[in-house]
Every structure is written in structure tokens, then in C-alpha cells.
Symmetry: C2
Subunit: 388 residues, 2 copies
Amino acid sequence: MKIVELRECTVPLQGNISNALVNFSSHSVSLIAVITDVVRNGQPVSGIAFNSIGRFAQGGLLRERFFPRLMAAPAETLLKTDSSGFDPAKVLALVMANEKPGGHGDRAAAVGGLELAFWDLNSKLAGEPAYRQIAASYGNNTVGETVPVYAAGGYYHPQKRLNGLVDELKGYQDLGFQDFKIKIGGASLSEDIKRLEAAIKIAGSSHRIAVDANGRFDLETAQNYARELAEYELRWFEEPGDPLDFELNRHISKAYVGPIATGENLFSTVDTLNLVRYGGMRTDKDIFQMDPGLSYGLTEFARMLGVIETAGHSRSFVYPHGGHMINLHVVLGLGLGGCEAYPGVFQPFGGYASGCLDGQGRARAIEAPGFGLEAKPGLKPWIDRLLA
Amino acid sequence: MKIVELRECTVPLQGNISNALVNFSSHSVSLIAVITDVVRNGQPVSGIAFNSIGRFAQGGLLRERFFPRLMAAPAETLLKTDSSGFDPAKVLALVMANEKPGGHGDRAAAVGGLELAFWDLNSKLAGEPAYRQIAASYGNNTVGETVPVYAAGGYYHPQKRLNGLVDELKGYQDLGFQDFKIKIGGASLSEDIKRLEAAIKIAGSSHRIAVDANGRFDLETAQNYARELAEYELRWFEEPGDPLDFELNRHISKAYVGPIATGENLFSTVDTLNLVRYGGMRTDKDIFQMDPGLSYGLTEFARMLGVIETAGHSRSFVYPHGGHMINLHVVLGLGLGGCEAYPGVFQPFGGYASGCLDGQGRARAIEAPGFGLEAKPGLKPWIDRLLA
């Protein structure tokens, strides 16, 4: 069994929306295929994945560095011991050869998408959904059938007013979502509070609403928001400051009684270790949101879990960034706290295939082999084009 | 005045050598040109720079993200207030639009090389060497004529023995170098000590020899090395552990009485802030080695200097990674501690143009406008090709 070809296709992300810091209209995602010489039903078995949402496609790095290293490797050096598939840890070690430590940025996303494609591939070779491969690989014997899922939205549109936010959240409710996240920090504190109160009213409880500042605030602004937000008893307060400003996070964890969530912009085990060491994260409430597709894939993500569990945190407090089908399998397979979903935005990657949402705030994976990306209507044409 | 075209050329780095962690034979560097509509002597005035040494070229990121953003910007939004050149801080802000915080890796090198090309351009527009532009921009009124320079070498070659190391260092002495850095961690501790003792014998004093582990060691190994190295009173002990493992650095700073050097793999102000906050760096001895070409350029590098100076460190303890002509101008212009040089390796970027080395352990810039890269023989053909 060997890799015949590696392919990447840069897919633009749909949506002229903004959080407190960035507009997503120029963002893109790398859709990646690992094509093997194994033929089933007249087609080569191929692993498909992408590098998550919210940053950029990595076609350049993949073609310049990572694809050539993988293609140059003798096939047997990448296989699992029993030859039933490819060993993602071996793939990771090989593509990272001669890369220096530090600098966990774009390459973490390039390698993340590539490593995840091997999980899709292995699952297809085994004829099972990816969450079962993941659970078996990491010794999780108690895989649930569904996981909690919340709708992430409430972005700042150029022309959207309070009514627009209300309509948006009602739309998510119609889809069966019960918990929601909205953006803060892209407007004044007083306007953000109005948005928050409108959202709480729709949701029926402040415990159902999380707010996300996307790393925008300096310490003083974060403290001002923390003071105002505290009385609402929210689901969580996400990324108050720069994701690497662990000192700011520690200050807010002391000042804000509710849960803090962060980690989506930490792309390595050592960065996660620093959050745990210095960020003041509380084991009884705070939320970790690292995203395998931006962080060298599932192998490195599992090491991050190891770091936070060693420090006394529970994986039930892990809600990976990235509301899409790959992370649904990751959450199910590893028994994490729950999933994000972007039902209205970030197409064709955001959201889930038909049948995944149970209409009561929980999600299940479909039973198609792999991540089941082929079952997501908007994504299928891109996969077909990639494999054509 | 406007930008007519942006170009990048990926140049392979010469040398099948290794440090404790990586082999450099596959490494590459982006040579970047900013071509303007200003014509002098029948040629467009063009800024030239590169993204330093030790990682990889960034042609993909430059062409996919950063070049298009810059070309889409109205020219006047990038100019200095007096229109005498382009404002590097405006260039940086513009190319980083809609980039999320965190993830300071490959993009920091792509943007670093690009931002530095504007310093070369501005200096050529002003008809002066870059160090004078840099000094004036950052209010340094006391620019020295020369700066200390040390020869970085002592890499692990596939076939090289102790004699090879001795010959290498003698060769650097013949070029006028008096201070040297050699690699450790790519062999056993006992073999590394033999290498170190051979190097000290050549240099005539242990104070002239620094050792560099390139981030390889875990805490226990770093402590073992620190114990053995302490008695030698070396120039410095560089990157004992992972560059982001600030806790390890703090432990070694407590255990090792001599200077520690680190920072070449920190690519942002916030990462540098974390080193200062958590790494145990001592204001009276420890060395910072951030490299503008890997760290979003000189604008961000100056912010890093601000962070370490605010914490009580002196810029005379800053020795940027990257032994090449760009950083010679940076060290001169900002009044930093000194320069690295790779006289034998990393061609065509490593080392200096004829006339830069004074033969007594110090270096000066040549008086050609800009960074003077055109005066470096091995580099000139690549620049000609880029501009052809």
C-alpha cells in the first residue's frame, strides 16, 4: 500500500462577516487529498481533510515542503505495524523532519490538514466512521452516540443591526440549537451589552450564551468587560486578550467568576503547556478550544490533551474550535466536552451533513466511512473536483 | 511613488550540515524585491531583502497572501508622512490585515523579508546605507563605526571529526575572527566536551567560545550539560531547550552561573514578552537573539526591544540570530551588542561583503546604499536574476 499522489485545492470561505479583529471574506481553506494505490469499486481509496476554519489555505507550504517529503519517503516507513493503514504519528514525524522548534503558525495548519487526511484514509480502509478509528487508537472504550453542540454566530455584518442578531439566533433555534455564542469587542461595551441581552432573551437563559472577544482586548478593556459580564452568569467568556498573553488570561481568571475559554490560537503542545502553566486556567470551569486542523493534526492534539489532563483538567472541558464534521468525529472519538457549529457561515466547511443534528442541541456522526465529508452537500463538488 | 511589482525567488541554502536537531541541506530562503516606479540611472529603484537563515523560503505565503494585499493598497496609504519613502509600520499593518493573533510562524518570516525590503528601498531612495536609515528612524544618535562579530560554526558534518572542527575554527581565525560558537547536543555529552575543549584550545580562552544546543534538550539533559559546562566559564550557553519552554529556561538560568542565550525562535513581541516574564532571563548577563527577518521585520523587532528594555534588560545584550549583512545593519543602526557571522556556511546569504570584517573581531557596513546585498559576490547573481 502506498501513496500515489497528494493534492491540495484552495477553497474560498463564504461570508463577509467580522469578529472583533478580522473580516473573513478573504479567508480560505486547504482541501487535501491523499490518494493511494488501493482500489475499491474501481476508485482509489483516498483520504480527505481540510485545515479548519478562520485562517488561510496552505497550498504553498504543502507543495513546497510537506508533500515532497511525504512522497520521498519509502511507503513502508509510514505504515502502521500491522500494515492496516498509515501511522499518523509516523507521518507527522516524517513531514516535520528538519523543521526547527518554535514558530507554530502556518505550518501547523498545513500539517494539520495533511495529518487529518490520513485519519480519513485509515477509516475508509477500515470501512468505519473516523470517530471509531480515533476512539480505538486512543483507547476510548466508552464512545457516546451524541455530543452537545452549540451554534457559533453573532458576527458583525457590515449592515446588521440588533434585529439581525435576533433573527440569526432564532434561525439557529429553528435548526434545533439551544446554546449559542456571539461575538463581542467589535462594538462599544454598551452596544455589546445590548446585543448580549437580546441574545439571552432569545435563548431563555444566560447560561446558554457564550461571548467571544477573539483576542482583541488589552488588560484594562478585558477587565471592564469582565466586570460588566460577570453579573450575567454566561456559558463562557472567550479569548479576552491576545491568545499568547497568558498573564492577561490569568488576571481575568482571577477577576471573572464565570468560565473563561481559550486555546483556539495555540497550535502546539508547548504553547498549550504555557497556557496551563501561566494562564490561571481553573480545573473546575475553564474551557480549552485547541483545534487539531490548525495544530499539526490529531497526534499533536492528543499530546495537548495529555498536557491539560496531567495538570488536572478534564477533557470534558475541551470544546475544539472549528464547527465542522472533522471536529465532530474528534469530539466523539476522544470523548471531549462538545462541539461548535457554524450553521449559517463559513460554507462549504461550516456545519454538518444532513442527519447529524438531533434537533435538541446534540450532534451525531453519520455512519459513512471516514469523516463523511462527501455527505456534506456544499463540500462534495469541491471533493469531486479535487479527485477528478 | 508607487510599487510596480513584488517578486520572490526561492534560493536553496548551501551546505549538508546539521545542528542537534536539523540538517540544513533542504533549507531555503526567499529573496524578495519591491520594484518601484522611481527610475534612477535608467533602472527602477528596488528594495531587496531576504527572510534570514535556518528555516524555509516563503514564496507560497508571499504570493498567496501578502503580495496581493500590498498590491491592492493605494500607494499613498503606504508612504511616510513626508513621502520620502514607504512607512514600514504602515506596510506591516496593511499586510497583516485580517490575520488572527497567535500563530507566529511561517508568516512572520514571509512578512519579515518583505518588510525588510522596504528598509533597503528607503535607504536606496535616500542614497544612504541602511544602518543610517535605521538609526535615524529609531532615534539612535550615537552610531558606532564597527560592532563585535563572532563566527558561528562547529556544525555536525556527516563525516567530520575533531580535526575537522579544529581546522574550521582555525580558518575563521585566519579571517580575523576571535570569538566562536559551536554546536552541542548532536553528539554525546562526553564527545561534545572533547569538541568544546578543542575549540577552547584554538580560541585561547573559554570566554571566546559559546555553545548552542538549538533547543534540543529536555530539562534533565539540559541540567546535565549545564553542570558540565559551568566550570568552563563560556561566552554563553544557547537554547538549552525548546524555545517556548520558558520554565526549562528559568530552571537553567538558576542552575547555570554563566550567560544563557535564546530568542532566535521567538517571532513576535508577545512571545518575547513571555520569555521575559517567565524565562528567568538575568539582566546582567543573559543574551537575546531575536531575528527581524524571521519576525515580521524591523518594526516588530523594535517592539521586542521595547519589551526587553522595559523589563530592565539592555540592548547591548542583544545579538540577533542570522549572520548576514541585513542584521549587520540592524546591529549597527540600533546599537545592539553584536553580530553573528557564518563565514563558512549558509551561502549565498551567510557572511559579509568584502571590506566588512576588520580582521580583529569586529565588522563594519559598507557604504553602498541599502543593505548592500548587491556587493556580496555569491548573492549578486541571484539579485540580478530576480530583477531580470
